[in-house]
Every structure is written in C-alpha cells, then in structure tokens.
Symmetry: C2
DNA sequence: GTCTATATCGCGATAGAC
DNA sequence: GTCTATCGCGATATAGAC
C-alpha cells in the first residue's frame, strides 16, 4: 500500500492503473470514461493518454497484471526468476489441479471474467495491441499445462495414452467456453463440475486434496 | 435479389442490413462508422438509428440472420413453422454430426467468427441488447443438442451412460473455446480434430458419412 | 403515423503549446 | 509530463417532411 518505488512516471502509471482497475471492476468497460479514470488519478484524459496509448490497452494492462499473478504461482520460474516461491515445493499433479481451481476463483469476480472474455475476442484482429500477448499466452499455457498433464496422465488410474498438449488445448478451450456460458447464466453452468467430468474421461480425478486455497483470494 | 416484399420500412431495414453486413465483413466492427453504413444505404446516421437502436444491435442482427439460417437447417420446425425442409428426412445421428460440421464451415469465414465471439463476450452485461438473445440461444442449443446426443449415445459402440445435456454443454463450450484460440492462431488449432477426439471419449465416432456438405457453402 | 434530418451531447483519440 | 484545442464518433432529443 505504501508508495511504490520508481520514477515519477512509473508512480503515475501505477496510480492510473489502480483507478482504472477499481472503476472497471465496479462498472465494466463501456460505462467508464477515460475522463473519469483520469480525474480519479488527478489529471485530464489527455494526460492519461500520454502513459497509455488508448482505453483498450488500459484494460489489457489491468487484466494482464492479474494474469501474471496467477501464472507466477502456477508456473514458478517462468517469468522473472527473481523471488518466485520455492519452485518444486508442490507436485506436478497438485499444480495441475490448482489450474482447475482458477475456474472457481474466477467465479468470484464475474465482472473481470466478462472483461477478459471481451478482450480476448477483440484481440483476434492481428493489429490489435493485445494480439501478440494472447497468442503467446495460449502457447505458454498449452505447453506448461501439457507438461503438467503428461505427468498426471502417467499417474492416472489406468495410465492413459493421449497427447498431453492436445488435451491441454481441449481443457483450455473447455474452460474458456464454459466461462462464456457462465457469464450469461451463472446458475445453469456448473463450471467446475463440467471440467471434472471432462478430466475424468481421461482417468484424471481430483484425489484427496485438502481445501488448499491455492491462489490469493 | 429482386426487391424484397413488405412495407417501405421493412425494405429500408433490409437495405441497411445489407450495407452493414458488407462493411462489417470487409473492415470489422470498430473500423466502420454508422455514418458510412447510413451513407451506403442512402440516409443519415440518425435516420438509420430510427430503425436500429444502436450500432451493436446492428451487428447482432447481421449475425443472428446467419445464426437463424444454421438453426433452421439443424433443428427444423423450431422457429417459423412455415417452409422448413422436410423435418425427419435425416436421422438424429446425422443431424448431430452436422452440428460439428458447423465448426468446419466457420473456419471459412474468420472475420464473422471473430465478430461473433466479440458480441457474445459483450452480451455478458445483463442490460446489453443481445443478452436475452444469447441466453436463449444457449438454452435452445443445449436442449436440442442434448436431444440429438441422447440418441447418439444410445447407439454408441458400447452405449454410454452420460447426461446428454451436460455433454451438450461441454461440447458447446469446447467449440466456442476452440474458436477463440483458432481465431488467434489458425494453424495451431485443429478444431475439428479436437472435437472428434472429445466425442470419441464418449464412444461417438463420425461413422461412414458421405461428404454431404450439409450446410450452405 | 411513418420516416428522416438538424442540432447537440460526451466520448476516445490526436496535435501542438507550455 | 501535462495541458488546451480540435476532430469524428455513437447516441439522443426534437422538429420537420411525406
């Protein structure tokens, strides 16, 4: 909470991001104007646009911070090798199921889930500022999740012969698609259950896990 | 191609939709202005907005026309009972696999797929003009696809005991999620193959189908 | 009544002065 | 690094034309 270290520009950026994060989470994307965000950060909207090229990129930055926090926990050592938690403290199987837990976590922040879905959809355009980011994101997730899945499939009840990266791609698609439906109709879409049913088809079961609460609430 | 029948207002609406469809498919959503669409339809942008409440709803209408064409073929008799093709000309199993074929068809129109994904994402907001439409769309798809799946599961190699609507929900989510990834990286996402792998887990295989080309090219 | 146009608003984005 | 000024945009209200 204390003032972040760094240059004045970096502190201003952080101030803007905090204001944007609060307002987006509260009111969505379209309903919030750059002028509001700028006012909350103590500037005009043109001043804000000196730090971020546009409104869309502001949303992307807010979401990718959250994304990076998740990734740092799930795949320690992937990003900044600095101060990640002890790398091999948890088993591959445990970390795999914590990926599934993200589904549950997302259920608690429907506003941001909807925004994330929106940004992914718009990033389809090759010239979109977030395009390269999402391409890389899915590549990394497929590979890392595939590695965890390979281990889990070997340990499965009868070991299952399946291409881990293909299953990872299916799993990521299933989770994304369930989120789309869940955002529309939360009560009719038991995300976690559908994911577990899917994994059970490959012989993967949650086993006896404590309610670890693996990711920051 | 000849002038559509109906009142003047209906003809104007059709003219606007044709202009919008052309321009959206060519340049996407954001890059096209209401003023351009209106000009191509021979009016001012305010005149256009007399027929459609906003730009978003214009896109929704364009996409839902296409959606309705698909639905009319897959689930004859669901909508206007007027002149649908002979209802029981094809078996449930055949119609089920033609749903999967839609995935292939979509691969040929990446621009519209991206727009569709974008609209679904934005329709998450309960007050969005398309919200009710998509809620109903997924309800109908789950139910109808569930019915087809129930028949297919009974005929499966060893008959599979699974909740048809739950499998339908998984299948729809998988297809949506695969589209998201495919739009970003067409070469790395073999949609059709992933869907078939998934259905094989439930004992469902395409069997010996001719290359029917079930939906209008 | 049905349709279209003019006028005005706040918006996101850009250019240039300080 | 922040501002003022300006642009075209989507949207709304309201008045006018058929």
């Amino acid at each position: 909470m204390s003032r972040p270290a760094g240059t004045k520009g970096e502190r201003t950026r952080a101030r803007i991001l905090e204001a944007a994060s609060t307002l987006f989470a509260r009111s969505g994307f379209n309903a919030v104007s750059l002028r509001e965000i700028a006012a909350q950060a103590g500037m005009t909207h043109a001043g804000l646009l000196h730090h971020f090229p546009g409104k869309e990129s502001l949303l992307l930055e807010v979401l990718s911070i959250r994304d990076r926090e998740d990734a740092a926990w799930l795949f320690p050592g992937l990003l900044e090798p600095g101060d990640a938690a002890e790398p091999t403290a948890v088993s591959a199987a445990e970390r795999f199921w914590s990926v599934v837990d993200l589904t549950e976590r997302n259920s608690r922040t429907p506003g941001l889930v909807a925004l994330y879905t929106k940004v992914v959809a718009e990033a389809a355009a090759p010239d979109h500022p977030a395009h390269a980011y999402f391409v890389r994101r899915y590549q990394v997730l497929r590979r890392e999740l595939g590695t965890l899945l390979a281990a889990a499939l070997r340990e499965a009840d009868p070991p299952v012969a399946a291409e881990p990266e293909a299953v990872a791609q299916q799993l990521l698609a299933l989770m994304d698609g369930l989120q789309t439906q869940w955002v529309l109709e939360p009560d009719r879409v038991p995300m976690r259950r559908r994911v577990e049913e899917f994994l059970a088809l490959y012989g993967l079961r949650p086993a006896h896990r404590a309610t670890t609460g693996p990711v920051t609430g």
